[in-house]
Symmetry: C2
Subunit: 251 residues, 2 copies
């Protein structure tokens, strides 16, 4: 069960913005038991987005979460690019247009904007790839989209973190089923790292767990994360490794 | 002149770590006049890294900066994966091994580690793809690598931010020449966003500038960044846009 993440925005490529969105999405998908296999970031460019989506779909992930480029400005081109990549038309989502209208009317009443009318930029946010299910944006104007395409669950979310997070929790995770992974974080004290690797590999084979490891400090400790479907299974893997001579501390 | 960035680490995919490295690298490359076209992140897996490197090289960037997975632990597999992707052997860099030895001896003297000897994990950091120039790691153990491969300048850097940044400044940027871009950040006040797009496009055609724009707040302002080789050229582009009716504020 693997997933990919595609984040979109020139500001991510120029380093003006650190891509914390993809970390948040990765965390939530991992908790649900998905192996996030790759993250890709491209700019606000139809050709680049289309190419990236095509390459990702060719790898046949179960889930693809896309974030960014849904707003009203001229460089928000994610929906048309995704539609092109899927060979689908962009079609008007009438209820979306009503929501967008209501959103700007509220901003106008509250004094944030001078003009509530649906100009071209605001209107275009109501166009989704044909066959997409709209995902409600409780925090902003642009709706997201959920598209099942040749066995891949594709979710298209806004790039503003507050909007993305709310839509991920309300519109994406409920569509991924209830499976939850537990994560057990440990520090392994090591004197010879080369002895740890075979023990980790053996634990992964014997138990229903996945194990990530990463060095902490200067080679004296290894951070170990055990992913498992239950606390019991994680504990069994831990005890197995301890029996093989690995000393763990809780971090 | 375009560049790509590849960051490597399971912890980036599971969201345990936010990938600030690629933002830093993107910023520095952008300042040097490179268009960072894509960022990719894969896990600590030889097959995944090899595949990603192959795909990036097929797009023929001028520069590829890779970060992560150079350490002593069993899941640090970036160097062998890069070597495989390039069809090169891994060969021992003897001066690197001397540096690594001296590094651990210093850590031992300073009381950070119990054993300074060159075990398998520490020794493997001295192996670089054949033909690579080692990049000194002033902040840690693992050397980086600079490889010219079929017209692509490939830099392989550590993932620890302090080590990566020092190596980028000392080993990468000096090899990219002296060209510097200035970045002028502005806020454009807009009443109708659809009128801004053609003005931006015209400015890009007339002047030696690149312009990024992104919405701020609820559609009342657009953040505009003008990239140019000189302050004068950026100013000319700004004045041109003002003459076309765009009102700017310094942010």
């Amino acid at each position: 069960m693997f997933a990919e993440i595609l984040t979109i925005g020139d500001e991510l490529l120029t380093g003006h913005t650190v891509d914390s969105n993809s970390a948040f999405i990765g965390q939530r998908l991992t908790e649900r038991g998905y192996w996030v296999r790759r993250k890709t970031t491209v700019g606000d460019d139809v050709g680049e987005i289309k190419a990236a989506v095509g390459e990702i779909l060719a790898r046949k992930p179960e889930v693809l979460v896309i974030s960014g480029g849904l707003g009203p400005t001229h460089d928000d081109v994610t929906m048309p690019a995704v539609a092109e990549a899927l060979g689908r038309k962009l079609v008007l989502c009438s209820p979306c247009l009503e929501d967008i209208k209501a959103f700007y009317e509220r901003l106008y009443r509250e004094g944030y904007i001078d003009d509530p009318s649906l100009n071209e930029g605001r209107r275009k946010m109501a166009y989704l790839p044909e066959g997409a299910e709209p995902l409600e944006n409780t925090e902003g104007a642009a709706p997201g989209a959920y598209i099942e395409h040749e066995g891949v669950k594709i979710f298209v979310l806004p790039g503003m973190p507050r909007e993305m997070k709310a839509m991920l929790e309300r519109g994406v995770l409920p569509r991924l089923g209830e499976r939850r992974f537990i994560q057990k974080k440990l520090l392994a004290e090591i004197t010879d790292e080369s002895k740890l690797a075979p023990v980790l590999s053996e634990a992964v084979e014997r138990f229903k767990v996945r194990i990530h490891s990463s060095p902490k400090g200067f080679g004296k400790y290894i951070g170990v994360i055990i992913f498992a479907e239950s606390e019991e299974e994680a504990e069994k893997a831990k005890e197995f490794m301890e029996a093989k001579g690995v000393r763990f501390e809780e971090p």
